[in-house]
Amino acid sequence: MSVAVSNPIPVNPVEKYLRMERIPHIWCPGCGIGTALNAFIRALDEAGFEPDKVCVVSGIGCTGRVAGYVNLDSFHTTHGRAIPFATGLKLANPELKIVVFSGDGDLIAIGGNHFIHAAQKNMDITVICVNNFNYAMTGGQYGPTTPISAQTSTAPWGSYQAPFNLPKLAESAGAVYVARWTTYHVRQMKKSILEALRKKGFSFVEIISQCPTLYGRRNKFRDGITHMEWFKEHSVIKDHPIPSDINLGFRTETIVGKFLDIERPTYLDAMNDRYQRIREEKGV
């Protein structure tokens, strides 16, 4: 007896990590957030963690919607508070692998204080920041990462405030792993996210992304592809550059790469060590 076997349809390895019933997603055609999510999921798959023990925490924004699409325990918190939520989650259950996935406005403006303090404490979480140079969800206002001269809905004559240099900020605050890539650098991005996931302590990956609908349209990047091509032509890979050399300007060269990979005791390890010693001293 012969059994007819149809050609199996290859299953996209990404699918099991997504809530497929939530697709189509809300992101615009050509948006870079999907690329970042794809790289994250491929890195997660390769890392081989037990998916039940991985949590994604997001704040509010277009990027903040990532938490709603991953088929993991996922938390969509209040604007800016993904990192302190993740802090509570990690401290309550240290065996969880916790990834904060959010936007530049969420993590660096309203959540900026939490960002530096979690880095300083070396909280054992991975932070993936999609930097699209604006507050996209609310219609493309300028934010802490908008380059000088770029136009946004609230900087119609061009922005005139200096933007944050996120890798430099993360490094000086105390992160142990820092990398930056653009959405053009999908392989490198995945590799860095994988390293970040495997790193103990506060790891940070900045993903420079196009937002064709708002930032791109206002700044002469006709569509997503145009902006990605621009990333391709104007990015320079440098490992371990001087942090102040990696400032982002308006239509200037973008330095990408792995910038930092060091060891430092995590908050939990330091806390447990100290308390263990105290308990031993007191004989309890």
Partner: protein
């Protein structure tokens, strides 16, 4: 469920209210506290930080009250029993994440050791002017539970109660103390662990394939999971359906918000805690809560010497408001005299429940110290005229 006897300081102690809150939390099984120092609540986190290494808890001093208040929700979804502690200005910052905890039905406890306000106000002196903020402070419609202890003993007992109610109804519970109760020292009896009843978290027994994160039981409260158990849940502050999926429609909003409100309103008789002593021949009913009630009990004796007989209602659970108790008391048309350390907050509730059947008087006080008994007596005399 009983607490771990190793963590319970069974015995008779002389404790400050703030210390009693700390011990109540530990007896209740609290094992996560995030906080940011602020007078007059700081001594709670000081004691917590000293005790937790020996009770298996984790204390973290966060960068502000925004982060403290959301770290609590994170910890609860990680499986902890969690609390944060603050006063006036910090309480204002926590409103955002009280709303988040209400929306995501995260069982947790917020302690507000009230001081005089507004703004920085009276850092070291008492007030009771955060009562409406406790009820309405975060945007949108929701319902919390709030308790008002009048002594260090009640600080201990009601902190345990607060944790229990938060678990039973999956709601943030607010312990509204004040500087006076927080810093007065009195006898506190801590019972043996096996005499303390704790409400366990309502973890589901269903497998992931059958479980819906926000499908309520008969009492309108859904069962819970914790992260890492394989349920792959999505928890969001957006309006969501029974699966936890964001659904931005008036229909979904109506179903969710109605339930969030009704799970407390409908269960109010079960949540209710009121001290009520209204002899039949009372001329007037004195209403107070927390520290103000300590003065009111004294004033009742002073009034009796003048031939005025006063009944007393002291809500211990202030939110949800025990409407029925006041409606019933109003039927005999005896005036209410409301004594609270603010310019009038709970008096509005009393007046609403009196519904014109009984006159309502307020003895206002801007805070900083307790009422002068004579100020209360003056209003009582006017009320019974």
């Amino acid at each position: 469920m009983k607490p771990d006897p190793k963590t319970v300081l069974t015995g008779t102690h002389f404790l400050k209210g703030n210390d009693a809150v700390c011990e109540g939390a530990i007896s209740a099984g609290c094992n996560f506290v995030a906080g940011y120092p602020i007078t007059p609540s700081t001594d709670i986190i000081e004691r917590i930080s000293k005790r937790f290494p020996f009770t298996g808890g984790t204390f973290i001093q966060m960068e502000d009250e925004l982060s403290s208040s959301i770290a609590v929700s994170g910890a609860v979804w990680g499986g902890a029993k969690a609390m944060t502690v603050t006063s006036g200005p910090g309480f204002s910052l926590m409103m955002e994440n009280i709303g988040y905890a209400a929306m995501t039905e995260t069982p947790c406890v917020f302690v507000d050791v009230q001081r005089g306000g507004p703004s920085t106000g009276l850092p070291t002196l008492p007030g009771q002017a955060d009562m409406m903020q406790a009820r309405w402070g975060s945007h949108g419609d929701y319902q919390i539970i709030a308790l008002c202890p009048e002594s260090p003993q009640e600080c201990y007992d009601l902190t345990i109660k607060a944790f229990n109610l938060s678990e039973e109804y999956r709601v943030p519970v607010l312990l509204m103390t004040d500087e006076c109760v927080g810093h007065m020292s009195e006898r506190v009896v801590i019972p043996p662990a096996d005499e303390i009843e704790l409400s366990p978290r309502r973890y589901t027994t269903l497998p992931p394939s059958e479980f819906h994160l926000f499908r309520p039981g008969k009492d309108l409260v859904p069962d819970m999971i914790k992260a890492g158990d394989g349920y792959h849940v999505h928890v969001s502050g957006l309006t969501h359906d029974e699966h936890g999926r964001p659904v931005i429609t008036p229909e979904c909003q109506d179903a969710l918000v109605r339930r969030l409100v009704n799970k407390i309103r409908q269960n109010e008789p079960k949540i209710r805690m009121v001290e009520e002593d209204i002899p039949d021949d009372s001329d007037v009913i004195l209403v107070s809560y927390g520290i103000s009630s300590r003065i009111v009990f004294l004033v009742r004796e002073l009034a009796r010497k003048e031939g005025i007989k006063a009944g007393i209602i002291r809500p211990i659970v202030v939110w949800p408001f025990p409407e029925e108790v006041f409606r019933k008391a109003a039927k005999k048309s005896r005036p209410f005299v409301v004594v609270e350390m603010n310019m009038g907050q709970i008096v509005y509730e009393v007046e609403r429940c009196a519904a014109g059947q009984a006159k309502t008087y307020l003895v206002p006080h801007a805070g900083g110290t307790v009422h002068n008994p004579e100020d209360i007596l003056k209003i009582i005399r006017e009320a019974v005229k």
